[in-house]
């Protein structure tokens, strides 16, 4: 394990140096909204406020992404032939991604990069990306990542982990991609490994202590029967409260569902995919007109069952929730996945 130390005074210089080799993405505040965006040439990641409303999932999975395009001009030789557009997949680096969001990328990968099917758009973007994480020294009141297989200093899915240690960052280099990024940035001051790892451990313990004891339990989810959970009485009350907007799914770092749309304008045709949401009545509506989730209760149940049960059963890689807390924070009616998870985990059907 190599640890690099970066004086904060050198930070911007290194970021500038890295721009020669990478397109940079990072947390920025525009129009009062904190987002992960591609940084403008004179823009720096906001390392003081990296907790964004939207997760960085859009770096690999844009809300609207053109998949194919064609010309409808009958005089063109290739008219009506759909082709994949030219996309820039040169190296990108996501700076300041939180550990829970990095775990989310690893979970989304299970869906987009499978032995049976490999989503070329997501996978190409993923292959091009280096994830330079920033540990969470001060977890928010809605952060429950330690209960969901991640944590404020977790390393899964990251190429490097920066730890804010006051005047400097201590950077754990985790993969060759991480190594390459620091080399491009010119960050090469190797820290005393034992000493810095001890410092990191202290900050980690402090952060985890601040989060308090685990209050979200997932240990019994795997042994529950899907049908029992389906029939649980608590979905009705949840569905009453839920206004059925798509906020939770859009702010969620692991929600990967999309809808494909064809559009034309003049002589150009395009096939797009857009983020979709299981909260929408249209989401599973069949061509026949039948809708297996026509009722709100069915849709609300679907979201939690997918996150906390179906995914767990299918991949055996934990829940599809990483505990970032965005849905808890942003739900207009404060539906709290922590409570739902505990209800599911402790549910025993009435015999």
């Amino acid at each position: 394990m190599k640890v690099i130390q970066i004086d904060k005074n050198d930070w911007n210089r290194g970021i500038d140096a890295s721009r020669k080799a990478y397109h940079l993405f990072g947390p920025v505040t525009d129009n009062n909204q904190s987002m992960f965006k591609q940084l403008a040439p004179d823009q720096y990641p906001d390392m003081e406020k990296p907790d964004t409303i939207m997760s960085p999932k859009s770096v690999l999975f844009p809300q609207t992404e053109k998949l194919l395009g064609a010309t409808l001009d009958p005089t063109a030789e290739n008219h009506h032939i759909m082709e994949r557009p030219e996309t820039d997949y040169s190296p990108r680096a996501v700076i300041g991604i939180r550990p829970y969001d990095a775990r989310a990328v690893a979970l989304v990968k299970l869906n987009f990069d499978t032995p049976e099917y490999r989503d070329p758009y997501w996978c190409d973007a993923y292959a091009a990306t280096t994830f330079v994480g920033l540990a969470v020294n001060q977890p928010s009141v809605t952060d429950f990542s330690t209960a969901m297989g991640s944590g404020p200093f977790a390393e899964e899915g990251l190429d490097a982990l920066l730890v804010d240690a006051g005047d400097l960052y201590l950077a754990k280099v985790l993969t060759p991609k991480g190594e390459a990024f620091f080399s491009a940035a010119g960050f090469d001051t190797v820290a005393d490994t034992d000493e810095s790892l001890e410092k990191i451990e202290q900050l980690k313990n402090k952060a985890e202590t601040a989060m308090g004891p685990l209050a979200v339990f997932t240990d019994k989810l795997a042994q529950k029967s899907i049908l029992d959970l389906h029939g649980a009485p608590f979905w009705e009350d949840l569905a009453f409260t839920c206004i059925n907007c798509g906020t939770c799914t859009f702010v969620c770092p692991t929600c990967w569902c999309f809808d494909i749309q064809d559009e034309t304008k003049g002589n150009s045709a395009a096939r797009f995919r857009n983020w979709d949401t299981c909260m929408s009545p249209l989401f599973t509506k069949h061509g026949s007109g039948h809708n297996p989730r026509g009722e709100k209760t069915q849709r609300v149940r679907q979201r939690f069952m997918h996150k906390l049960k179906y995914f767990l059963d299918k991949y055996d890689s934990g829940t599809m929730c990483v505990g970032c807390g965005r849905c808890v924070e942003k739900c207009p009616v404060n539906i709290d996945i922590r409570q739902v998870c505990n209800k599911m985990n402790s549910y025993e059907p009435q015999k």
Binding site: Q33, T241, C245, F250, V328, P332
Partner: protein, 315 residues
Amino acid sequence: MNAYTEKIRELSSNLLREGKVDLVIGFKQGTVPMATVPAIARTPEEAATFVWDANCSLNLANYLTNRTEKIGIIAKGCDSRNIVNHIVENKISREQLYIIGVPCTGMVDKPSIRALFDLEITQFKEEGETLLVKTLENELKIDKQDYLRANCRTCMHRNPVIHDVLVAEPVVEQTLEDPFKDVKAIEQMDDDQRWNHFETLLDGCIRCYACRNACPLCYCPTCFVDESNPQWVGKGQDPSDVRTFHFLRAYHCAGRCTDCGACEEACPMDIRVRDFTRKLVKDSLEIYGWEAGLTLDQRPPLDTFKPDDPDAFIK
């Protein structure tokens, strides 16, 4: 516990105990600071967990649409106006409702309170008109009236316009020199400025439709943006599609919007979507002398027809 909460619990529990209603719709305490949860109580015990504070911002009339039970509902001024809308538009009947009216002194604007601190808010307490807000590192006592939502600052109907019982004496209604300063500022912009204003306004929209779903007026069985056969509007992030959604949503609210602010309250991106509907509220008042949701005896101006309409286009 504040006096409103106490009274709401008492009245709701009694209604359920006496069997006068099947359920009561109110607010429960949320799991994070400054959050409340719209919820149903079917038993007196459940009603005893209701709360009332300056975060009960959503509009509970939204939960009445097409319900068939006998319902008790907690209603502040704006909720009561949307209940009137719902009755006039046949989404619920007056006989089904027992309205527990709450004279309101305004709901707080969460973004502007959050903006006071660098750190996130860990505690929020209300003592009368004073708010005590804490973060991990500091705390502030602020005057609620300085941090009201924009729609509460221009609200002219703080007292419920329809109710079966009130939880307290009516409050004094506000007198405002000009409730439409904000709209006029936009009206006075030149075309380019105005275009730019609305374009920037919608910059962060993620089309989650929380504004629509929090709105008691939006109860169409299938919203035009969800129609797929035919499809009226593109579903992506193309600005023309994002704008189409917002413009059409606003126009569907013309003459019906009570400016309750639920749309802005629900928006995860803090977009000031009322900039669209406010203009329609002003026009309704100026053109038709109409304020939505004040009377059960008259239909809104845009769903009536008069054979003697003075305008030539209709003849």
